[in-house]
Symmetry: C2
Subunit: 281 residues, 2 copies
C-alpha cells in the first residue's frame, strides 16, 4: 500500500479492544503518525505512563476526548463539571495533545434552549484556562440523533456560533463527518468556520438504520462524500491531522492490527484520493 | 377524562395491530374525530371499502401517508415513482383525506445535493395534479437519522424552502415533533412557515438511545417541549388536526383500545395544556 499517511490519526475509540500501549505501539508499527486518546483509556494506563508511551513510540497526539457535558440540573453539579473540564485540560497538556474535544452534553430537562446557553457559558469559562495551558478547545457538534443524551449542539452552525461568541483564540470546532454529513447548510457552514476548524474526524454512515451510537461505518461503507468534505475543510484552512473514529462493535471484535491496515487502505481510497462526487455506492 | 379532543387524530401507524376497520371503529368508540390513514393498510382493506368505513364511522381523514420517495437511480424509476405519487393523490381524494404526506426519499448514491434537487422537481411535477384533485401536499422533513434511508429533506427550513420555490397553493409542510425538535432554528423556521403548515404530528423522543425508527415515545415519555411547539404552530396559523404518530413496538403489542385511551390522556396532558417550558422530566 502506498500513499501519504502523514495526516492519518487513529482515534482510540476505533480500537476499544486495545489500551493506550497497544494502540500506540500498533500505530508505530503501522506507520500511523498520530493518535487521538480517550480519558478513560488514559486513566486505565495512568496519565504519566500514557504520556511516556506516546513519547517513546514517537507519536503525535492529535486530540484528547473528551471534555464538555456542561449542562446539569444544579449549580453545584455544573461547577463540578467545570472542575472536571479543567482536569481534562491538564491531562491534554500532560499528553501533549493539540486539542481537547468538547462533547457538550444534554439538557437535564425539556428546555434545550437553556442547555444551549449553559454550553456557551461553559466554553467561555473554560477557554482562558485552556489557553494558559496551551491546549486548543474543539467544540464538536454531534448528530441530532444524540441531542437528548449527549449533545444539545447538533449543527456545525451552532458550534461555530459559540466559537465566534466566545471570541477567544484557542477555541475552535471539530468537524466529524458522521455527525454533520446530512446538514443542508454543511458546505456553507464549513466556509463560515474558516480559520476556526481544529479537528477533522472521518467515518461513514451506512444505509440500513440501527442504533446510531454503534452502527458507525468505516470510510467507504456508507453514503458520506468524504473526499468532498475533506477538500472543503482544507479550503477553510484546516490542514492538520485527520482522525479515524469508528464506534462499531464489529470493528471492536476484529484484531487491532487488522483494523489499522483496513483504516489505512480506506483512508487512502475514500478520504485522500480525488474522485468525483456521486459515484455509485 | 374531560378535555377538548376536537383536533385529535389517530395516525394509523400508532395502531399497526389494527386494520382500517378496527382503527376507524376504535376512534369512533373513543371519541377521536380524526384519523390519518396509511396506504398499505388501505390496500389491505381495499380503497372503496376503506372510504366506506371512514364515512360510516363519521370520521374525518386528516391525511394519507405517504407519497414521496422521489430520488431514484434511473429516469425510468423516477417516472414510475411519479406515477405512484399520482395514484397516492387519487387514493387521498377517494378517501376524503385533506393532505397527502410526502416522505421525500433517500439518495440512490452519495450525492445528497442532487437528490435534494430531484425532490424539488418531484414536488413541482406532482403539485398541479394534486391541486386538480383537491388534495394538499405536505412535505414532511424527517429527522437526520433517516437521511440515508428515507428522506434527504432533514429540516423544516429545507421543506419550507421547497414549498416557497414551488410557489403553488396546495403545497405545504408537515411538522412532526419527533423529526424537528432538536433543530436550533426550529421556532424561527416555524414562523417562516407561517401560512404553509398543513399538518402537525405529535410523539416524543425518549432519552436512552436505540434505533430511532422504532423507539419513538408517547407524548410525555421524552424530552420534547410539545406544548411550546403546538403554540408556535398555532401562532403560524395552523389550527387543523393534530395527529398522534408513534412507531413503537411496545405500543403495537398493546391492545388497541388501551392505546387510544392512553393517547387521549397524553394528548390532553402534554400537548393541549398550557404549561411552562423546562418542567422536570
Amino acid at each position: 500500500m502506498s500513499g501519504d499517511l502523514s495526516r492519518l490519526s487513529l482515534n482510540q475509540a476505533t480500537t476499544k479492544q486495545w489500551g493506550v500501549r497497544e494502540a500506540a505501539e500498533g500505530c508505530a508499527r503501522a506507520g500511523i503518525p498520530w493518535i487521538g486518546l480517550w480519558r478513560d483509556k488514559v486513566a486505565e494506563t495512568g496519565l504519566k505512563e500514557s504520556a511516556r508511551i506516546v513519547r517513546e513510540t514517537g507519536l503525535k497526539v492529535s486530540s484528547l476526548c473528551r471534555g464538555g457535558m456542561f449542562p446539569a440540573a444544579t449549580e453545584g453539579e455544573r461547577l463540578a463539571r467545570l472542575d472536571d473540564n479543567r482536569r481534562a485540560v491538564d491531562e491534554a497538556a500532560a499528553l501533549g495533545a493539540e486539542v481537547l474535544v468538547l462533547v457538550c452534553g444534554a439538557a437535564p430537562d425539556r428546555n434545550i434552549g437553556a442547555a444551549r446557553s449553559t454550553v456557551r457559558d461553559g466554553v467561555e469559562a473554560l477557554a482562558p484556562y485552556a489557553a494558559a495551558a496551551g491546549v486548543l478547545l474543539g467544540v464538536e457538534p454531534l448528530h441530532p440523533a444524540f441531542a437528548a443524551d449527549r449533545s444539545v449542539i447538533c449543527t456545525l452552525g451552532e458550534a461555530t456560533g459559540i466559537v465566534r461568541l466566545v471570541g477567544l483564540p484557542g477555541v475552535g470546532v471539530v468537524v466529524d463527518a458522521y455527525h454533520v454529513w446530512w446538514d443542508p447548510a454543511l458546505y456553507e457552514e464549513i466556509r463560515r468556520a474558516a480559520g476556526a476548524i481544529v479537528g477533522f474526524h472521518v467515518d461513514d454512515w451506512p444505509k440500513g438504520g440501527g442504533d446510531p451510537l454503534l452502527s458507525r461505518g468505516l470510510m467507504g461503507d456508507g453514503v458520506i462524500e468524504l473526499r468532498r468534505m475533506r477538500e472543503a475543510v482544507e479550503s477553510a484552512g484546516y490542514h492538520g491531522p485527520i482522525e479515524v473514529e469508528i464506534f462499531n462493535e464489529a470493528v471492536w471484535a476484529t484484531p487491532g492490527g487488522e483494523v489499522l491496515e483496513t483504516i489505512k487502505r480506506r483512508y487512502l481510497e475514500h478520504v485522500l484520493d480525488a474522485m468525483p462526487a456521486g459515484e455509485p455506492l
